[in-house]
Structure formats: C-alpha cells, structure tokens
Assembly symmetry: C2
Homo-oligomer: 322 residues x 2
C-alpha cells in the first residue's frame, strides 16, 4: 500500500471526460413489481448494458487512456476472472494496443469468449491469487506491458466511480446506494464520489457469504487474505484490495454478507420482473436489500447491476428450482 | 369491418397524451455484438420494459381512458392469450374499474399470474377463436362491460402507434422498422404513424411460419381464418384482424414468415448479448432481420421488442440446446 494515492472527486470527473467517447451512459431501470416486493423505490443502474457487458469497461478504459503513448505502445496486462479481462481487451482495442489477460482455470466460458472476441491475448494459470500475480509479473517482464490491476489501481477506481456520477444525475434524492464487493474497485470509486457529492447517502456493499473477506477484514481490523472463496458469484471471488479495504473503513461503508441461495432468488426476480439477464454477482445487490428489508423500507435506493455475462447453458437458478 | 374507422395520426398523438401519465417511455437498447452479427445498426425499442411487461399496456390504457365515466363504471372485457389481458387489467386499475379477462386454456403461467396480480377477473375458455368470442359476449351481456378487442379496435391501434412516435424521436434517420405480427394491432398503429411522419421508412412485420395467416391472407387477397397456429411464439397465435389486414395492404407492409428454430436462436442472442429476457414473440423481429441479412445490411433498423413475459421454468431454448 505504500505510495498508493486514492483518486479524488476531480480524478473521477477527469475519468468521466476521458471515457465519454468510448463508454455508454447506462440506463436506470425500474419495476413496479420489485418496488412492491421490496417496499421501497428501487433504481437499478444497468452496468450489465455497459460495453463488454459489465461496469469494468469504465475503469479499464480510464486506465488505458491515462497511459503515455510510449507506455501504451507496449500494451497492458491484467489478471481477471473474466469481466475485467474482457473490459481491458476492449479498452485496449479502442487505442489499438495489445492486451494480455491472465485467466484462472474454471472461469466462465461466456466471459472467456468475450475476452477473445475483444482481441485479448489469453494466458491461463491456476485459480489462486498467487498464481495470477506470478503470471502477470512474467508477462510484464517479457513484454513491458503496464499492469492494470482489476481493483487496487487508482485509475480503475476513478473509472468505476463515474457510475456514481451518472446515477446521481439520473436519480434525484437517493437515500442509499448498494454495489457488489469483490476486490473493491467498484465500491471504492462510488464511495469516493458519493461522499463528496451526496454525503447523506448511505453506501452499502453486498458480498457473498462464501467470499466475505471484506466483511471479516473490517471486523478483525486487518486484511484477511486466506479465505478460499466458495460462491456462485464468480465475479466476486477476488480478495479485497489493501487500498480498497482502507477506503471502506475510512468512508464508513457498510458490508452485508449474502448466501448464494438468496442471490439466486434475487437473480430470478431480476430476470422475471426487470427482464434483465444479469449475472449472480449483480443480483447480490437486490439480495442484500431484501435481506434487510426493514432497513431500506420506504426509501429510495440505487442498486448497481454490475454485469450480465451469464453462461446460458448453465443458468444456476434453473437447476436449483427443479 | 363495416363501420370500422382506422385511427389517424391525430388519434395516435391524442393517445400519447392520454397515456402519458400511466405508461413508460421505454428505452432504446443497442449492442455492438448484435450490430456486428447483423451487419447493420440495430435499435431495439424495449417494450418488454413497458408496464405489465409488454407494449399492450399502451393500447389498453388508451381504450380505458377513452371511455365515458358511465361506460367506465361497468368495466371492460377482453379475450387474450395473456399480455393484452394483463395490460387491460392494469389499465383498468389505473381508473379503478373492473376488468374481465377471457383466457384460453394452455396460456403461459407467467402471463396468467400477471393478470391476477393486476386485479383482473379470469374467465377460462377453450383455445379457439370462436370460444373466446363467445365467452366475451357472455360477459358483456351479464355485466355491461365494454369490449376492448386486443387488436381490431381503433383505440388499441392508436395506443400501440405511440411506440412509433417515441421511436422516431429517440432514433433519427431510421431506414426500416420491424414489429411482430399477431392480430395486427401493433403493426397497424406503427404503420399509420410511420407512413404519416416518415414515409421513407420501410415497415416490416415478422410472423411465425406456424401462424402465418397475415402472409397467406395478403398473398390470397382474402382473410385466411382457418389456420391452426403451431408456434413457440405464444403471443402471435391470434388471427389477423379484418381491419388490420386491410391496413397492411393499404400501407404496403411487408411480412416475413419465420420458423420457430430461428426465433429461438434469436431469443438466445438477445438474452446473451442484449441482456434482455424477451419472449419468443419479441425475438422474432431479430430472427426476421437475420433471415434477410442482405436486405437490411448497412442500414439503420428499428426493432420492436414487444414483451418479456417468459416462463423461466420452461425457457424454450434451454431444452432445445441440450
């Protein structure tokens, strides 16, 4: 963490300007039926409709376009369970530079296909944090590519924070915003923007109970890095980043841990009522809200649907419903 | 058909004003991947995000709010395979009046649940056109309710035509608009608006090959009413209405017939790439475009996604993919 500087609101605004040519302003979606079920007014920020099918394009795009021409020429590299990898490949393509993507074995097929379609160069490794970082370091040595970390990166955090800028413009008078927590890039960027522009808005993170390293880290007062993730939320298996954890504590972000069963119930509700094919890692925000219904009742809640890259041959709620 | 007066552009504009308080302006959705597959610029009008999960709310709402107070008090009645029924129940609730919905046996469970949730009173009948009309007539005699036909009704056509008004405002310079054809209410309203406001835009209807009564009627020069529909597009099984057929001919609407297999391929693409859980009756518009790729190549095409009420326990492309 030494030397890490968090992005400020100005960096998030700069990111918004930098990515405006490339990223989509995603719509906010509503459903009378879900409002009725929740007993609250829900505003879903549709980042699954972002280019590449996930919010990750924002951070990746900001990082790619922050590079000097000389840095850019040597390309970028990252490790990613999928969405960030596809996003970085797509972002690199907007600048015509190579993107090396280290992917762990067992990643979702739909996400790997996205990476290849975007022109990313795949490097496979074992599904551990250590193996990912080692493979990344090797590619860096061999190519001179710049590492764009999926979440412990100020440029990436700033890019993800542009979601909160848009949401505040699209929906007035929010009482709370819920985002998923994996490595913590999304919630870091959003929390910085929200604390600066709308300090009264509660910032809540939804984390899988089977990968609740952020929650445990906050409780123990130190970063817990030895959890073996076990969750259907394949986008939320990463360990919370050190700078991200520090931000969660500093900005008083509340974290709710959610069981996979509740995630799958919420995912089905989003498919049926909001008509959106979101992935489990997105559906967790609705699950968190429904798990604490009384807390959010009667209020106006923003929920970030982070991605929609589902393998349609293995829809998890189908097998559990039968 | 005696005495039937088609709505004019002024009626569609009046409908837009009448329903503005109740209906949603639905978003237009795009996907780089689908554009690439199609070789054209596609603009999907998301009517599955309309209240009730289908475009039908527009026509039903216009009809309900066109009634005098005295008519309204006695309620409304219709027959519907589902989406129009749910829409009429929802529209009736916005005015606080009863809605009687005659539903054929075999209708999709998710659609019946929608009708009941909206407060509609269900009346079941055999799945034939004759049985539907008979049951409707009985309810009319017993209650004095006003019949709101799903498509052969000028108020309903005018309501559906508001989709084209919005689409023309949302997307400049369209070359063609494709909508599904069931009974013909949607395409009638849209064709009237498009011919009046954008006469250069091609108007194309997509009809299931297993229920291609509109296409056959146009070819034979007379209304074909003896087809037994056999298609996965449960919203498109109705027989083309007499006034609707006359309009298709008059306004030179082209009809493309599509096999169910092609519909399911398109549906899967829409779920995977556009991230929208649309029903087969919606997906047929993309299937029609892909069936005639050369014709639409390089052009700007509006496609109306008509509804999203899918039974998630029986996703048709799942069983066919295994």
């Amino acid at each position: 963490m030494t030397g890490f500087t968090n992005p400020a609101l100005a960096d998030i605004r700069a990111a918004a300007a930098r990515i405006a040519m490339h990223a989509r302003v995603t719509p906010v979606l509503c459903s009378d039926v879900l409002d009725e079920i929740a007993g609250a007014r829900l505003f879903f920020k549709g980042e699954h409709l972002q280019r590449g099918g996930a919010f990750k394009f924002r951070g990746a795009c900001n990082a790619v376009w922050s590079l000097t021409d000389d840095e850019a020429r040597r390309g970028v590299v990252t490790h990613s369970s999928g969405n960030h990898g596809a996003a970085l490949a797509l972002a690199a393509r907007t600048r015509g530079i190579p993107a090396h993507i280290v992917v762990p074995e067992g990643a979702v097929a739909a996400k790997l296909a996205n990476i290849e379609r975007a022109g990313g160069i795949l490097h496979r490794c074992a599904p551990t944090q250590a193996a990912r970082e080692e493979a990344c370091a090797r590619v860096q040595r061999e190519t001179g590519a710049t590492l764009v970390h999926p979440y412990a990166d100020a440029r990436v955090m700033a890019g993800q924070g542009t979601i909160a800028l848009e949401l505040l413009q699209q929906v007035p008078d929010l009482d709370a915003v819920i985002t998923p927590i994996g490595g913590g890039g999304l919630i870091s960027g959003c929390a910085i923007a929200l604390r600066a522009l709308a300090p009264g808005v509660e910032v809540v993170g939804a984390e899988p109970a089977g990968a609740d390293d952020a929650l445990q880290s906050l409780r123990r007062g130190e970063r817990v890095t030895d959890i073996v993730p076990h969750t259907v939320c394949d986008g939320l298996r990463a360990t919370i980043g050190a700078p991200n954890l520090a931000l969660l504590r500093e900005l008083q972000v509340d974290v709710i841990a959610i069981d996979d069963d509740a995630v799958l119930v919420a995912m089905r509700l989003l498919w049926a009522e909001l008509k959106q094919t979101v992935e489990p890692s997105s559906a967790i925000v609705l699950a968190a809200l429904l798990a604490q219904r009384e807390r959010f009742a009667g209020r106006r809640i923003g929920l970030v649907l982070s991605g929609g890259n589902v393998d349609l041959d293995a829809i998890p709620f189908r097998s559990s419903a039968r």
